[in-house]
């Protein structure tokens, strides 16, 4: 008798929930008079006219206002545009509410970024139809929190993400594996999740114009995508990752910050000052989360919009601002080609939690650190006598 193992293994149902024009939605909660108006969030708190647009409402987008556009240009396109300075704290707060709300449905949530999440609803959908569930979540988020979302429903994360993008705002899209040929493959290659601004033109130059072209012309695509090819090829065929990892929750791959300058930077002194501000923001976030980092990188974008990055990996983890800043400056000195600077970014990665860090003592500085030697000795003695973890430090206990 034939034993078809694959038949037994049932597919999963994954939601990708994407908050539409998220920053705008957050602002509208406290400023309902702005609903249905052309508004935009600017990145520069101090001088509205000199910043750049971070995001714009759908009404403003109709005038051609886009993210990363200088404010003055946006005003030209849409003279009645209302500019609101960005308020990251508010957005984080809203994002937290959004996550907490979703957690009432399932613990299988993977937070992908501040305004999107994946949910594994396979179990939930034993009792409710996926479409009904999506509708309910969407309605509640809109009615209770005034947060419009679009939801993609599919068998894996990649397809769910692509689906949520298909109808915005307030869309619900189901993307079935058998519909890929009609619904996914005709999409332009630059719309494929994971294909960046740098890769897309290269693919287009090689006649890979749509997602389907990766499947139809694998040899050509392979040349451009290299060892990433398999990932995209399998995604296009519908064999994507369907594991929703709640541990990715709130944990960061990297922490960074960047600023675009309306007035291009010409001198080292100004660049140093901006890099210091960026480093301070990054380090304050590291401290807030009790994170230590090992890799530091900087990004410079020049007047011609060409972007360059350079990074350095320390041989230890740190959150020390002077160490990080000194490396940022060294990297900048090496990377800067003296051209006018449009954007500077500081990024840190290789993150671990402070409580997981093993501190390697340093020959030249250990003497400053031996102050709690007696405490360490005492704790070790107690644990050796009465068993491991009899005594430990308060900060090592999980909240």
């Amino acid at each position: 008798m034939k034993n078809n193992l694959n038949m037994k293994k049932k597919g999963r149902i994954i939601f990708h929930i994407d908050m539409n024009a998220f920053f705008i939605s957050c602002e509208l909660i406290s400023k309902p008079s702005l609903i249905n108006k052309a508004i935009a969030i600017s990145g520069n708190n101090a001088k509205f006219n000199k910043g750049v647009i971070v995001t714009a409402s759908y009404e403003a987008r109709e005038y051609g206002v886009k993210a990363a556009m200088p404010v003055f240009q946006a005003r030209k396109l849409c003279p009645h545009l209302l500019i609101i300075p960005s308020n990251m704290n508010l957005y984080r707060e809203c994002s937290q509410k959004f996550k907490n709300f979703l957690k009432e449905y399932t613990s299988l949530i993977e937070i992908a970024s501040i305004d999107e999440a994946y949910l594994d609803v396979t179990e939930l959908c034993k009792n409710i139809h996926p479409l009904a569930l999506a509708k309910e979540i969407q309605q509640k988020l809109l009615n209770i929190y005034q947060l419009p979302t679009s939801i993609g429903i599919a068998a894996n994360k990649f397809l769910a993400k692509m689906a949520s993008d298909m109808k915005k705002p307030l869309g619900i899209t189901v993307l079935r594996n058998k519909e890929l040929k009609e619904k996914l493959w005709p999409l332009k290659i630059n719309e494929m999740y994971g294909i960046g601004k740098k890769t897309a033109p290269k693919l287009i130059d090689n006649d890979i114009l749509t997602i389907g072209d990766i499947v139809k012309n694998p040899e050509k695509a392979k040349k451009i995508l290299g060892n990433q090819f398999n990932h995209f090829y399998l995604n296009a065929l519908g064999y994507g990752n369907n594991i929703v990892d709640p541990n990715k929750n709130d944990s960061y791959q990297s922490i960074g910050n960047s600023t675009t300058f309306q007035e291009l930077i010409t001198t080292e002194t100004v660049a140093y000052k901006k890099l210091k501000e960026l480093t301070q923001i990054v380090v304050s976030r590291l401290i807030k989360h009790s994170y230590l980092i090992k890799t530091i990188s900087i990004q410079i974008k020049y007047a011609d919009y060409k972007s360059h990055t350079k990074s350095y990996t320390l041989n230890y983890h740190t959150q020390d601002i002077s160490i990080i800043y000194n490396n940022v400056i060294d990297l900048f000195d090496e990377l800067w080609n003296k051209n006018l600077i449009r954007l500077l970014g500081v990024n840190t990665s290789n993150i671990i939690e402070k409580r997981d860090n093993i501190e390697q003592l340093n020959l030249f500085t250990y003497e400053n650190q031996v102050n709690n030697e007696n405490i360490i000795k005492l704790m070790n003695d107690i644990n050796r006598k009465f068993g491991e973890n009899t005594i430990k430090r308060g900060y090592k206990l999980k909240k």
């Binding site: 093993i358 390697q360 003592l361 340093n362 030249f364 250990y366 031996v370 070790n380």
Partner: protein, 375 residues
């Protein structure tokens, strides 16, 4: 330039100087080995601008002719290729012939290689230094100095001076010290004759290359020092390296003199145990092992939440002092244990968050390691 030479002699020379060949260089000519032929013999030169190796091969060795000269001259020959060709040469003699100033022909048995060459005139002029008062060493002794110190050289460029070994003299002693801030190696050498005051830092990478060269070329080693260059001469070979610029930190104060706990182990047994326990250390991560020192035995363990744990105990040959627990990087420990020679090692501890040292009967060698903070 045209000559015939015994292939094993030529191959050995090319092999010696090839250690200085550049792999990545803004000057393509430095990928060549320079061959200069005159009446007395052949001079081979290779350089990567940090180190330069030059070897002289005389026409006559013990009145026996090894080089048969037809036409004097110079050439810059692609180094890697020449080395590979010679490695595969299957004849007792090979013939080298330069023609049109840009091709070199290598002939042996039935083989006929023609290699394209760069213009030898482009090869930079590298001066070899000579001092009136060179320091003399038995090369095997110097090999030991390198082996026992180079392990602690920093591989990180954050403090460039720490990427070298500091060699300084005091009266009739030579102090050779390296540290990457987490461990330190010190070797003291007593000199038979007093030498002028020196205090130099030789790049660790250069010393590793020199060590390899000394493995196959033993004898009397002369060290010549100039302001920013050091030159080692052994037999007909000169190995020259740039020195690191800057002040090496003063470390004598940092090596502890008093100890609260001392353990003596059989060195090979200890290496075996640590080697086994380290199997569970994660690639690239800190390979932290714990030493739990009790009265009768020491428990060595490693606990890696993602991989698993391992525990093994070892009985010291003798022990003195108050018990403790200490954690440190097993790689540092193994590196230090492996470069020592004696049967027994003594580990001397000063405290849980203080450096400890590893010594043998040879009191002139000290290996020091900083622990990690464990609780």
């Amino acid at each position: 330039m045209k000559f015939r030479i015994q292939s094993n002699i030529f191959s050995e020379g090319i092999n010696n100087v090839s250690r200085a060949l550049s792999t990545k260089t803004p000057m393509p000519i430095l990928k060549s080995i320079k061959i200069d032929l005159n009446e007395e013999g052949i001079y081979l030169t290779a350089s990567d601008s940090t180190i330069t190796i030059k070897q002289f091969m005389p026409t006559f060795i013990d009145n026996k002719q090894t080089i048969f000269i037809e036409e004097l001259g110079s050439a810059a020959v692609p180094g890697r290729l020449l080395l590979e060709v010679l490695r595969k040469a299957n004849d007792d003699y090979i013939e080298i012939n330069m023609y049109e100033d840009k091709y070199i022909k290598i002939n042996f048995k039935n083989s006929d290689f023609t290699l394209n060459c760069l213009d030898v005139m482009e090869y930079p002029n590298i001066d070899l230094i000579d001092s009136n008062e060179p320091i003399e060493f038995d090369s095997v002794k110097f090999e030991q100095i390198i082996k026992q110190t180079v392990i602690s050289v920093s591989t990180h460029e954050s403090r460039p001076i720490l990427t070298g070994v500091n060699i300084k003299s005091n009266e009739n002693k030579l102090y050779c010290i390296s540290t990457d801030s987490y461990r330190l190696s010190e070797k003291i050498v007593e000199l038979e004759t007093p030498i002028p005051n020196i205090n130099i830092v030789i790049p660790g990478k250069s010393l590793l290359d020199l060590e390899k060269l000394l493995l196959t070329n033993r004898g009397k080693l002369q060290i010549h020092i100039a302001s920013n260059i050091v030159s080692f001469k052994i037999k007909n070979i000169t190995f020259q390296s740039r020195l690191l610029d800057g002040n090496f930190p003063e470390t004598s104060r940092l090596i502890p003199k008093e100890f609260g706990l001392q353990l003596v182990f059989n060195r090979i047994e200890l290496i075996d145990v640590v080697d086994r326990v380290s199997l569970l250390s994660k690639e690239g991560a800190n390979n932290i092992i714990n030493l739990d020192i009790y009265d009768e035995k020491t428990i060595i363990s490693l606990d890696s939440p993602e991989i698993g744990k391992v525990v093994e105990d070892i009985t010291p040959l003798s022990q003195e002092g108050s018990l403790m627990r200490i954690g440190f990087n097993s790689k540092y420990f193994l590196d230090a244990l492996k470069v020592l020679n004696e049967e027994k090692v003594t580990i001397k501890f000063t405290g849980e968050v203080r450096p400890f040292i590893i010594r043998t009967n040879d009191e002139f060698v000290t290996q020091l390691i900083l622990p990690v903070r464990i609780e």
